[in-house]
């Protein structure tokens, strides 16, 4: 019996009911009218402030806020971009290898909820900018973009040729967002309250529907394909890892654009002041930090942090990138930082 059974229609039907019943309302269930406390951290940081060791308290605050906005934007981009791939990665394979109607219903709900999450995160980012006196379009230049990226082109090409890389990416993103909330939750009294609420609502829905990517992977793994495609399918996870890692690293590079904005707002000036700290970190240490110990970034980049995805990939005998064993640093709020 597979771990995620796409053929157990009764369980799937119960999940449809559960998701519909507990779905949150974008406008009514999040207190958008409460002002954002932009003196607070959005994300607790580790003692090295991700990759900026020795950052001063006000720099840690700015880095935490920027990282919070980047995380929001990353999730929002990933959750928006899936709609572009909906036909190639979902409708087409489900029509070619039919599934129970509940799989269709759950898929519809999944795409609907992901769209809502993207709207929620983008709305938070916009509110944050407005209330902190930042130009949202300017901040947007520092945030990751998936639309039009080679990452999207690669995943779409894979889906069009019958690959499952898309669902491996989705499975990883779902796990990351849940793990992320666990880390924020540890300092729930210290982080910005609306940020916490947004991630709480998001995590609750993710917890209910995160198995959908795994169900799709199980289903598609049972699809009868020729030998060549069967062999190629073994590389789908590796393909997803290579392109998603490349995309994340290239998008993180946008932080250097802050140099040109330093005179526009104290927020940018503080961030630009952090860049020399980053330059001091040797490349080997930086790589070790990004893939092993840096919270959030390591969580996204190193798929060994995605335990369920990793387990399923082993069960299905997928080829995977040889990431080092993760050891994420403890995260702390500013006042507790060493």
């Amino acid at each position: 019996m597979p771990r995620y059974n796409p053929f157990d229609f009764e369980k799937l039907a119960a999940q449809v009911v559960r998701q519909r019943k507990h779905a949150f309302d974008l406008n009514a269930d999040i207190p958008w009218q409460v002002p954002i406390d932009y003196t607070r951290f959005l994300l607790p940081l580790d003692s090295d402030a991700i990759a900026f060791p020795g950052a001063a308290p006000e720099q840690r605050l700015a880095l935490s806020q920027l990282m919070g906005l980047i995380i929001n934007s990353t999730i929002a981009e990933m959750e928006s971009v899936i709609h572009v791939l909906r036909h190639d990665a979902w409708t087409k394979p489900l029509r070619a290898y039919p599934a129970n109607p509940e799989m269709w219903e759950l898929g519809d709900l999944f795409f609907e909820e992901e769209n809502k999450h993207a709207l929620v995160f983008n709305r938070y980012n916009r509110l944050f900018c407005e209330q902190a006196g930042l130009d949202p379009e300017q901040v947007d230049r520092l945030l990751p973009k998936a639309f039009g990226s080679w990452f999207l082109h690669a995943i779409r090409a894979n889906a069009r040729s019958g690959g499952t890389a898309f669902w491996w990416v989705v499975a990883s993103v779902e796990e990351v967002s849940l793990e992320l909330f666990r880390q924020i939750q540890k300092d729930k009294n210290g982080v910005e309250p609306l940020y916490l609420t947004v991630h709480k609502r998001h995590a609750e829905e993710e917890a209910r529907h995160h198995n959908y990517a795994f169900l799709m992977l199980e289903l598609l793994s049972q699809k009868n394909v020729g030998l060549a495609q069967r062999l190629r399918r073994k590389t789908d996870l590796l393909f997803a890892q290579v392109f998603s890692t490349g995309w994340v690293l290239s998008e993180l590079h946008r932080i250097f654009e802050v140099k040109g904005m330093r005179s526009d707002h104290p927020f940018y000036e503080t961030l630009a002041g952090c860049l020399p700290l980053f330059d001091k970190v040797p490349l080997s240490t930086l790589l070790q930090k990004l893939f092993v110990s840096a919270p959030y970034v390591g969580l996204v980049l190193n798929t060994k942090n995605h335990k369920k995805t990793h387990q399923l990939s082993q069960t299905l005998g997928m080829l995977s990138a040889p990431f080092p064993e993760p050891a994420l640093n403890e995260t702390l709020l500013n006042e507790n930082a060493a």
């Binding site: 229609f9 009764e10 029509r95 290898y97 109607p101």
Partner: protein, 303 residues
């Protein structure tokens, strides 16, 4: 509810069926596959014989239904005519709706019959099967061709009799095991060997008929259709949605964690699916026999 064995001469051949349930209820017509007999439906019959009058015909050449020397009597046209005759015998006024259920070769027959019953059809349920046209198209897929190797073997004249007489029990036990049935779920061996001898002729007739009619336009069934497939079926690839939609206006497709006989492997799931499916059928009395059926009956060229 008592089950009766009914027998009648239909177009010159002894034809038999099992009948149970009240003659005031809609008809549930259960069509078995190969190498089964109608007893394969015992579980479903017991569950639905109060809601329906259950009719379970013996396929041509199996057990109580006499074989024919004419291969065409094993094809869908001839078998559909036999089924019309049985339905006329059971419901002379044709005043009751018929829900057709077919498995394997019975599924091919069920699709063919459903296309001809018009508004007497209440609904169609197909287990691990395709329509004849779908099956012929599917044979172009190497994976389906590989799964259907025995169809090629049975095209050899007298191979069916040979298999039935000398290898029947072993081969059929192997087929059931391969199809996912544990020994305790497999049908009685005596009935298997009895059924096997002439039933192989159905494969020969169907292949010929399928090739001859592969370009014929498909009749799309307007009534609700439920297609159930086991994901581990070693004999039939599940149809794609496009394939089923070319034959039915609003099909529901179900894939279960099962092999070739999902109704034996997962009786509880199948029961709950059927209860839900039957609940949405409109089973009130149909109009009297339709022109299309009368036309079809008048072209009785297979006598």
């Amino acid at each position: 509810m008592k089950t009766q064995l009914k027998q009648q001469q239909i177009r010159g051949l002894q034809t038999a069926w099992l009948q149970s349930g009240s003659s005031t209820q809609p008809i549930l017509l259960l069509l078995h596959g190969y190498p089964d007999g109608p007893e394969i439906w015992d579980g479903l019959e017991a569950k639905f014989n109060e809601q329906f009058q259950v009719i379970r015909p013996y396929g041509r050449g199996t057990s109580h239904s006499a074989p024919s020397p004419d291969l065409r009597r094993y094809g869908t046209h001839a078998e559909v005519l036999d089924l019309f005759a049985i339905l006329r015998e059971v419901d002379p006024k044709q005043s009751r709706k018929v829900v057709v259920v077919g498995h394997d070769l019975g599924g091919i027959l069920a699709w063919a019959l459903a296309g001809q019953l018009e508004n007497q059809l209440g609904g169609l349920v197909v287990f691990n099967s395709l329509s004849l046209q779908q099956a012929i198209v599917k044979l172009k897929n190497p994976r389906q061709l590989f799964r259907s190797w025995y169809v090629g073997l049975l095209q050899i004249p007298r191979m069916g009799q040979f298999v039935g007489t000398f290898l029947g029990r072993q081969l059929h036990h192997y087929a059931y095991t391969l199809g996912g049935l544990s020994t305790n779920l497999q049908p009685d061996r005596a009935s298997i060997s009895r059924n096997a001898t002439h039933a192989a002729n159905r494969y020969r007739a169907l292949l010929r008929e399928g090739i001859a009619s592969s370009r014929a336009p498909a009749i799309r069934v307007k009534q609700p259709v439920l297609v159930v497939c086991g994901n581990r079926d070693p004999f039939v690839l599940p149809p794609t949605i496009d394939e089923v939609e070319s034959q039915a206006v609003s099909p529901e497709i179900r894939i279960l964690e099962a092999g070739h006989w999902p109704f034996l492997e997962q009786p509880a799931s199948i029961h709950s699916l059927l209860v839900r499916f039957f609940a949405k059928l409109k089973l009130d009395a149909p109009n009297r026999s339709t022109p299309a059926v009368q036309t079809f009956l008048s072209t009785d060229c297979y006598r």
